[in-house]
């Protein structure tokens, strides 16, 4: 299995027997919610979709895996989503087969997907790699595999010698505790399981990755092994183990 990092996504290409393009957390329809919170912008759906289409054309995958939160509004569909979603999904489907792992924001998305496109919320293994949105306990079938998950929107801040200089979407790769994640029984000899948290494809979603670790809100983030956690930038630049960045926080 090989991975390619698509920095202008952020997206991933995972290639083994098949070639998949992975994107997480597109949050189509976020603008309606922003307006509810006092931020008024026109819909960026078109720009976001075009960005994704360009990456599909460039990477030429066998399938597009959307790791949840394709849409934004919960618990109901908004007007914006009602009008935009069908066309967005149809446009994508025309180019490449869709595989959707619904996330917590995806209530009601079923009506716009065709059978065979929806996978379990708890995740599934495809071509040797586990995929899931990441807001629930993963299916035990994912144990021993690399799990790729969305949901957390990690964003990394780096400082140079004088001050803050970079804020960038980043990946977080970590070992997880199979037992705590209910993927294995205590004492059961199990292959190590790793999770890769993907940054959000949505251009304004972002959450400080140290916060993800300090104040975990999902089963996955609660049960990662922070000693075995490494950070990679959206473009595939290896930043290093989390623990080498921690002293930076408390100098």
């Amino acid at each position: 299995m090989n991975l390619e990092f698509v920095g202008d996504g952020p997206a991933l290409v995972v290639e083994d027997k098949l070639r998949f393009l992975i994107a997480a957390d597109l949050h189509f329809g976020i603008e309606a919610d922003l307006a509810q919170h006092g931020l008024h912008f026109r819909s960026r759906s078109k720009d976001r979709l075009e960005r994704l289409l360009a990456i599909i054309d460039r990477t030429d995958p066998d399938g597009l895996v959307l790791l949840g939160d394709v849409k934004h509004s919960i618990p109901t569909l908004t007007r914006q989503e009602y009008y935009e979603l069908p066309r967005i999904l149809a446009t994508l489907r025309d180019r490449v087969p869709l595989l959707v792992f619904p996330g917590n924001h995806d209530t009601g998305i079923e009506r716009y997907l065709v059978p065979g496109e929806i996978f379990a919320r708890e995740g599934a293994v495809i071509d040797g790699v586990g995929y899931l949105h990441g807001h629930m306990y993963p299916s035990p079938s994912l144990a021993g595999h690399l799990m790729i998950a969305g949901h957390h929107h990690p964003l990394l801040t780096l400082r140079d010698r004088v001050g803050c200089a970079l804020q960038s979407p980043a990946y977080l790769r970590a070992g997880v505790n199979n037992v705590a994640l209910r993927m294995a029984e205590q004492g059961e000899a199990d292959a190590p399981t790793r999770v890769l948290f993907m940054p959000a494809f949505n251009e304004i979603a972002g959450y400080d990755l140290f916060q993800i670790i300090r104040n975990p809100t999902s089963p996955l983030s609660r049960h990662i092994n922070s000693d075995d956690t490494e950070i990679i930038l959206a473009d595939g630049t290896y930043i290093g183990p989390l623990k080498t960045l921690i002293p930076d926080e408390s100098d």
Binding site: M1, N2, L3, E4, F5, L34, A35, H37, G38, L39, H40, F41, R42, R44, L146, L155, T157, L158, R159, D160, R161, V162, G163, C164, A165, L166, Q167, S168, R194, E203, I204, A205, G206, Y207, D208, F210, Q211, N215, I232, L233, D235, G236, T237, Y238, I239, G240, P241, T244, L245, P247, D248, E249, D251
Partner: protein, 898 residues
Amino acid sequence: MKAIEVLDPKVQACIRKRGFTLLSDAQKEAIPLILRGDHTLLIAPTGTGKTESAMFPVFNALLTMPSDGGFKALYITPLRSLNRDILSRMQWWCSELGLTVGVRHGDTPMAERRKQALYPPDLLITTPETVQALFMGKRLRHHLASVRFVIVDEIHELAGSKRGAQLAVALERLHVYAGEFQRIGLSATVGNPQDIARFLCGERPFSLVQVPVAKNLKIDVRYVGDDFRHQTEVLSQMLKREGSTLVFVNTRVTAEALGHALFERGDVEVHHGSLSKEVRIDAEERFKRGEIHTLICTSSMELGIDIGRIDHVIQFGSPREVARLVQRVGRAGHQLNTVSHGTILATGFDDLLESLVIAKKARANELEEVIAEQNAADVLANQVAAIAVEYGEIERQKIVDILCRTSLFREPALLLEDVCRQMEEHRLIRLDGSRIITTARARRYLAGNLSMIHDERKVPVFDMVSRRTVGTLDESFVVGWVHTGVVFITKGQLWRVLEIADGKLTVEPAKKVSGELPSWEGEQIPVPFSVAREAGAIRRSRRITDYTSDPDNVAYAGQFLVEMDKNRSLVPTDRLISLENTDDGVVCNVCAGHKANEALGRVLSVLISARYGTTVGLELDAYRILLRLPFDIRAADVRDLLLSLDPAHMPGIIRLSLKRTALFKWKLVQIAKKFGAVDPDADYEKISIIRLLEFFDNTIVQQEAFRELLTGYMDIEAASAIARQIKTGEMSVGIGPHSLIGAGGLLSSRDQIPPPTADQAILSTLRRRLDQDDVFLCCMNCRDWKSKTVVSRIPDHPQCPKCGARLIAALKPYEEDSFTMVKKSRKTSEERAVEQRLMKNANMVLSSGKKAVIALSGRGVGPENASRILATLTDGDAFYREILKAERNFIQTHRYWT
């Protein structure tokens, strides 16, 4: 009293009844002109009866007008407190003359407002913001049609601001209902009266009445030392004399500190904008009644609020601007033809020289100009929304007509086009061909945006450790810049942000960090270029006696310069920029004032950050720029940059640099609010607002942020002039030891200039990581020595302490076992392969030393990759970039992921 003989006998009788026996020059000159119907700008010192000058002729006209409802005259002042003061003065006149008067502003109760809508007073006293609100109601709009006079009081306070620009548009909106009305502006002394008149009248002809202030000013400057306790003692002594005193300070913090120190005297009160209305009014009243003799105040007392007789004005610290000094001292001797006495207490070397220059300029009547806001796009957006609500829908051309009548918009049609498009983006208006149509949002927007003053929500700063709130920050600052992990300064202390949630900022105290972050604790009054230059000239000529005869002043300043000479320090002047190395970076001593230094500092920072790929911290005041730099960039490097500065490139460089700074993002949020993109109570949690701001790239919002910063916050002209002088040799650049002058001053503005690419942050993170990496050094010669250490501790050419050989393999912790294998005497073929790898490894360390160890520490970098990296023969950043490349390749492979 001849001038009033032209007035209606009823008005004349009133004037006599009120006890006026003498008219001031201002009144004598202005009354006939205003009575004649001229648009008039009256410029005169406070206390010369400006209000009466305007109102006598207005009363005269009002008496002859039919009482058919509607407002007849609007009296607009910048402050509610001034409104109250004017109201109490007008009530007497109006009741005597049988006219009605009312006040309407933010504090006016609902019942009163309703009454005004039903029975509009002849004279309405109001603020620019409430004028905006008058256009929103149908009935009030109807009453506006009968307006014949608009009086704008303290117009100099408004003319240079966006508030003023908004008012100028509002006056032309009023014109649509009322037709031509007479405009009367009342102003303190300014450097450019014609411009102020244009601001009021647009292209209409006007009359100008100017009463000079300078001849009645007597200003002393007195050095009181740099110790606060001593300063307060001197002040306390000065307050012991008879009569009442206003003490002006430049910040609220100083006002509080002085108030606290003088509290025990019992005759002192503090007055500033952060205090509640009740507290302020109580202080004013007690001062007026003579119960207290001293009021310590900020600019809140500059305007003509009547607080009775003031015998003396003390300015604590340099007044920064000539106009400000004149305005403040002008409050003393609040009677006709008396001399105003003022004393500046100077609190340091810069402060003393600056005060002397300002005092001299005040005597010579050389005041600063008030520069109006030209083409302010956010003002226009605000007014387009207001007009859309006012009319429901309107042709664009009608708005262009309104704008054309003001003096503030060049090419309004083009600007309007851009502004409307942006507003539509944020759903504040709809566009339909040439028509602009209001939306449901627009009225709600207006309710929160009547004012162009950035009425900032304050975000509380909560300290996790002491579990208490330690202060507040401007919301726009928090939104545009602060994120988890950053360090900033407030209350003179460093804090690290732990979390931004629930509308508060959770922080912990931070220890010294290499970089300090932006901080704006209230915007400072900038010292003008000309003042700072002249202060620099005194440093050069050392002729302090040209400015003061006070022996203490002369002795202190003389002694200070002698001390500089003794230390072999360079004394920076108007012809010499001196550079000094310090632990934090490089101090550039430039006597150019805040705005020119801001421009120059930013140009230098961006050039350094681009050349060296590092973030540069910038702090400055009127006389010095501190560039916070990594230790390896020194004064000589900064000098080279200064000497090679091309004035023609400076504006472009500044534009480039601004985009990524905190200052710019802060402005962008403020302007976005005026375009309706961001509500006043918006909730920013859980999204990356910094990336949201990228939506404004190449829009009118961004353009306006540039315009405002480039005209209001910095003086590129002056900075370019300095660059030109450096080129021609008029200005020299020298390097000296860290000096008293270089170390002095409280740096008032802070920002950071990040490098054009983020590369450096990644590289320094990589270096730090590799430095910390554990490594096993194993001697491949004797095969008997192994040592665990970290990369940073390894010497340039590691050597085996047992056999002295330099054939050392550098192994990652998980490779430790392979050395054990190598020590075996009988090896399998697999083990022999391992041995070969280790030999390759050790040979690399033998030939390239520590550099090989560093390369070998890279994630997934084995001997093959390492030798490829070393073969590039790169050094420094380029070498580390090669390692990054190798690591990036590695993590795309199967090996990393399984």
